[in-house]
Point group: D2
Chain length 365, copies 4
């Protein structure tokens, strides 16, 4: 078993262009019963990582970012079998990923019944500190050290590391769709935002029975990707002003508005705009506001009169990840990975993620 | 059959204190097949009437206000039986009320399947003009002239005229509860606003399985009424500032927030306040914004993080009125009628309704 | 306008092989305001037609069968525009279909809010008698005479007559999916029966987010068609006994059972079998028992212990037909029409429909 | 701490009248960290206990029955605080109850998200064997020995031991109501069966917004109790034959049938009868078939045509118990305890429970 590992440690919150991540060599703690040491194969750079570096998402410092990971099992602590969340035994050499771990004992896990809102969730890649056991707590590193009882998933056949990395955004949309009660067959869906969450929303809506999907966002390169992945119509927010965007959606829907609008933009103003695009009795999902981006003036009369239902979605549970595999098996999503970096280039990777030319950036240590 | 009738006609939008309603004697048109002439027994003064006089709700002038009515059938046009919405034959002498008439042919009625959002709804008391047939189009008059095919309900036994007048607000809350998926048994419910809609929300929540109902509003007299009608806790907005109100709700709910918050206030700021009172995965109903009272800054991150569901409700359908009778049979609501006026005092009635000492004002021509 | 039309009249209930339909020449009544005379282009032969000829579905005699129709408008009564259910004006020369007409006035239409259960539904093709106005009341004829106010749909671009005929079964499955609350994304779906309803269920499940669809039925030719149209697995009931069928579904689902089972077989025993195939908390739709085929012994303990939800679905509303167009635009369903006959061969068409080698039989007068 | 305890041990499945339970003196094992020793104050005799003695519910022998318990904490193992399911610290002297313990790690707990269907549920009173640690595994004893991590609830103020014992049936009905989507406000509810589950269903339906509750069962003494607790109508199955019972429900519902029928009878034939009592689009809950009582012939056409939704409910989760407290605070249920016995009379208690004159039997050791 390896003794030491390189890791990109974040000591202080600073924006990507200031290159805040520093490579450090860390000692690998010995494995206790049920723990797993795994060599990172691919780590996705998520918009949340960028938000963290701008101070919009609270984390514990120092830490190692990287919460969308695929790794190969190098060693397993102890003799007892370690099972993945579907009950398969994990073995050395397996390609795995792992999900945020809900405690299954807190009020939200047991009484509320929603592990996505666990009060003591353990997340690798920003939510565990790197200056105490088990130290290797994020994917921007050569190795990760997984605590006993981690929610590991052995990659099923037909699922590439790229698919798993993109599956992190997808599982949130699977959860979001569940929270709005699923699509009604034939719904017209508008998607605000064409980052990874928006594009996953597009693919999901198409596979879940939408009759038409309209994607609104920028830049043009991402919208082109959206069209290549099946968007029936795209609207470039750098070219078309707000009122015309609303008008365009109404034109495409006989003046009635879309059945469902999925907000994947993370910009408060998008909510005001999106509510104008929803039809009477339509549904609006807020999926892009994981970080606090501030307020927007909204008119309750619009919600009242159109009887709109607005719902928020927060992260996802293991079920949603497993269900997300459905799509990842059907659609070849690898081309959505537009940029690849080595671990040494981790700050460049974050800069690329911040500039929106990239759709999805990964690090391959 | 009577030939002429007094009616309080609204020619011009002006606030209640300017006494905009003028009594006029109008000719009663002869009855065509299926039409009904009915003598008004009681007409409720609704908050919407006040909003109309302030120009916040669009109507067609001239008109006769009064959309919460009980009347006694004086004559029926033609020979064929006229049925109420439950299939009972309407006869001279019956006490009746009538509901907004949905066309059942438009897109919203047929394809959307929601007659509450009918595109051609016929409402007495502000939505039909008084300068053309059938002229007597509102309850603030001696008589009303009901068009053939009106959605009439013969008052069931055990239902007083007072109950029917209050039932107009209640049916909206029955609809609202339906739109949020009903209460889960044992829900803690916060009600924002203690006008007739809020008080009806209180009674309904109590009878639909709430474990505790907290009413927030003013003035003290209405809150006293709320307590008398079963509120477990009331908070006076003239005495307790916003942050303390939120704090109080959190204290009463182990720091978690209410399961359900029903907005019955009509004030945009109430929505921002109420969203702070809802628990994780809780539900928020916007029922008070029938009129356009403007915007309020809201933070989408709050909705996203707490996974709140917000829903609007608009008016109601015949089903909701019939279901509202359940409550009106169980609870003696007549004491909620705090002020009674004659038709000649119609402007005074509106002034009383505007000043919030009154809970519910009626006119008995 | 044509004066006379050939029609296949059913005078007496007798099985297909006794050739019960007789061609008669009938006079075409003059058109009243809003009525439409249309020349039949294609009429589907439905399993229900076969059930009618075996006396399992009550109808009024004499009648003209044929309730899945596409026709070309030959004349329109009166001068006023006649609109289809989406608001488009119907014109001479348009290809149209029409749906069962709900009254929108009865208890089920208004209070229950479900036009699929209209108490006075008007259906062409067996539910109107052929010995009184308007006589031409079914699609197995040269012409149909559509009553004013009929729920007509002008064929949208990209929708073939074949697609419309198959859409009659599809709209029922769209309705059925709605009644079970839609698929959860990634559901494993079992379909019992591979007639037109089952095949439409297969196509719909695939397009509504199923991860895997298993079709159970016979004969082999239909199962081959199911595989060609995307079934992941088929089980031939003539080759595999009941217990093995159940076992096979359990094997394919890690021993848990399917998330959703759609009964499209019309055989009571299928329900007992299907309940063994549903997982804990799974859903079971009964869509195949439009006719009364008798009882089957079921064990309530199975439903109790697995917390299964069973739902029935009856016909569909206009909304479901419009939503069904989503699929008919995406999938080229024409190959599912396996047999075509002329009007003179109408009895042969029914015999072919009864023998299950055919998947879908149509008549092209 | 006590050293020895009397317990009624079941060694062999035999019916109550054969007095299968034998009092044995057992050693009390020393307490490990987090374990609780509690002196039984009251133990309910459940219909399930009777079914167990008839061999209809699989259990592990030898065992100690008694799964509806209230006990007083005598000792707590170790020094660390032990919390109840709401987070309150359990202390010596507290009155407590405890719920079946779900593992929160199996597929059903985590992926399916339903701890009521936990694959490894630990239940006291029949599901743990009495011949191995911790031996005192049921409420028909002087003491119970609760495993560390048990789902304990400190009795909230205002909740009597009697209420807790009855709450065991109530929580299942709270769960059942949740599974059918809650009552729609004003629903007419039929309850089949007037044992504790049926009576709890009655109380719950009344408090959850039913407009009318009809209870069908026997004997007369229980129906009298049902009326005393608010049933609007009762039907005695020993006096009124099946067809007349159905007829009576139709008469009471304008010929339409009940909105909701709750099966709490445990008799397969009740399901066939009940489906005839449900209205179009109505809902049917199977709550009484915890034990396997065999099959009943049902007609799928009835479900199909009326679009009935049938759902089963199995046990309950902690949430449902906490929600059940709402009712137990509002309604004084103690009079529903009709028979009380000492531990020495445990076989008599079971005989009384089997004879249906008793509504609810308890043992007070």
């Amino acid at each position: 078993m390896a003794k030491r590992a390189l890791a990109a440690v974040l000591q202080e919150i600073r924006p990507p262009e200031e290159r805040p991540l520093r490579l450090e060599e860390m000692e690998i703690p010995p494995l206790e019963e049920g723990a797993i040491l795994a060599r990172v194969v691919m780590a996705g750079v998520c918009g949340t990582d960028v938000h963290i570096l701008h101070g919009h998402v609270p984390i514990r410092l120092p830490t190692i970012l990287g919460h969308e990971n695929v790794a190969r099992v190098e060693a397993i602590g102890g003799d007892r079998p370690v099972l993945d969340i579907t009950g398969r035994e994990v073995r050395v050499g397996d390609l795995i990923t792992w999900l945020p771990k809900s405690c299954m004992r807190c009020y939200n896990c047991t009484i509320l019944g929603d592990p996505a809102k666990c009060e003591h969730r353990i997340g690798y890649g920003g939510w565990l500190p790197a200056d105490r056991h088990p130290y290797l707590v994020g994917g921007f590193a050569e190795y990760v050290w997984l605590l006993p009882g981690s929610d590991v998933v052995i990659l099923p056949s037909g699922i590439s590391p790229e698919a798993v990395v993109l599956g992190d955004a997808l599982r949130i949309m699977v959860h979001g769709l569940e929270r709005i009660g699923g699509l009604d067959y034939g719904d017209v869906v508008v998607i605000q935002g064409c980052g990874p969450v928006g594009i996953m929303g597009l693919l999901l809506a198409r596979d879940a029975g939408a009759s038409r999907v309209i994607v609104i966002g920028a830049p043009a390169s991402r919208l082109a990707l959206a069209r290549a992945f099946g968007a029936d119509e795209t609207i470039d927010i750098t070219q078309v002003p707000v009122q015309e965007r609303i008008q365009r959606v109404l034109e495409l829907t006989d003046g009635r508005g879309a059945d469902v609008v999925l907000e994947c933009a993370g910009v408060p103003a998008a909510v005001a705009e999106g509510l104008e695009m929803v039809r009477i009795n339509g549904r609006y999902l807020i999926a892009g506001h994981y970080g606090d981006a501030g307020k927007v003036p909204l008119n309750p009369h619009v919600i009242n009169k159109k009887q709109i239902t607005i719902t928020g979605v927060w992260s996802a549970t293991n079920r949603h990840f497993l269900r997300a595999l459905t799509l990842l098996r059907k659609v070849h999503v690898d081309p959505l990975i537009t940029h690849r970096f080595t671990l040494k280039e981790v700050n460049e990777a974050l800069i690329a993620a911040e500039r929106q030319e990239a759709l999805k950036v990964v690090i391959e240590p």
